[in-house]
């Protein structure tokens, strides 16, 4: 038997009515935890962070365009309508990883 050591990566989505246990299933699978009162998945404390990161773009994500971050003060972030962003970026995995680097900056504003 030859050593294969292959890595496969794929996107998996959970759908279903609210309070059926989607987040609990994920939490059980990923962290092995379970909470009797799991909070509702509605967007967390920073509901607009993802569109904002997407709007900043990959250049900002690399840390090259820090002045752009100034536009995303907490007030501006809340005021910015979700619909204004290009949602395609949000679902792109590469963009996601880039976003991940921006988000701490956003949260510290």
């Amino acid at each position: 038997m030859a050593a294969q050591n292959k890595t496969f990566q794929f996107k998996l989505v959970l759908l279903g009515e609210s309070a059926v246990g989607k987040s609990s299933l994920v939490l059980r699978f990923v962290r092995g935890q379970f909470f009797d009162y799991q909070e509702s998945t509605i967007g967390g404390p920073y509901p607009l962070a993802v569109p904002c990161c997407a709007a900043l773009g990959p250049q900002a994500a690399r840390g090259g365009a820090s002045p752009g971050l100034r536009h995303f003060s907490p007030v501006a972030r809340v005021a910015r309508p979700t619909g204004s962003c290009d949602t395609r970026d949000v679902t792109r995995v590469t963009t996601y990883y880039q976003m991940k680097h921006v988000s701490p900056c956003l949260f510290s504003l």
Binding site: M1, A3, Q4, N5, K6, T7, F8, Q9, F10, K11, L12, V13, L14, L15, G16, E17, S18, A19, V20, G21, K22, S23, S24, L25, V26, L27, R28, F29, V30, R31, G32, F34, D36, S40, T41, I42, G43, G44, P45, Y46, P47, L48, A49, V50, P51, T82, T87, V90, T91, V93, Y96, K100, S103, F107
Partner: protein
């Protein structure tokens, strides 16, 4: 049989009507990384769902075995995915809260019949007791039907139910 190669990524739950988590599972020599989009269930977020299921290789449609309404909703999600999702998407129907057997309103036979009719996977799970949770994800990971993602698993590395499933899939082909 399988082990968790690493625990959850430390990604915080900053989300838009969904949470993103990753989990990597090692199945013998093969590593499967799940990029999990956990969507919000409220009806008002329905319009955002296509953003999350677009490009998804697999979907878990969850209902609550104590709620017939949630089963009806799950069926409508399956219909939507079959109509608008990735044509090769692997759909798994999960009847969650199987620990609440005394309050059961949806019979497993009914759900299984529906799943067979629609050619999707089915499993009753309980996040609370961890029953079938890993099995659900591993079965999805082990399914070799992803486009461009031919997971090559050694049959003897899998639990019996997965071997049986693989065998039946091979017979279908």
């Amino acid at each position: 049989m399988f082990r968790h190669a690493c625990s959850a990524s430390e990604a915080p739950r900053w989300v838009v009507a969904a949470a993103f988590l990753t989990q990597t599972v090692a199945l013998n020599d093969t590593t499967v990384k799940f990029e999990i989009w956990d969507t919000a269930g409220q009806e008002r977020y329905h319009s955002l769902a296509p953003m999350y299921y677009r490009g998804a290789a697999a979907a878990i449609v969850v209902y609550d075995i104590t709620s017939p309404d949630s089963f009806a909703r799950a069926k409508s999600w399956v219909r939507e995915l079959q109509r608008q999702g990735n044509p090769n998407i692997v759909i798994a129907l999960a009847g969650n809260k199987s620990d609440l057997a005394s309050k059961r309103k949806v019979e497993p036979d009914e759900a299984r019949a529906y799943a067979e009719e629609n050619n999707i996977m089915f499993m009753e799970t309980s996040a609370k007791t961890a029953s079938n949770v890993n099995e659900l994800f591993v079965q999805i990971g082990a399914s070799r039907t992803f486009p461009g993602c031919p997971i090559q698993l050694q049959p003897w590395s899998l639990p019996r139910w997965a071997r049986q499933r693989m065998r039946s899939q091979q017979q279908e082909r």
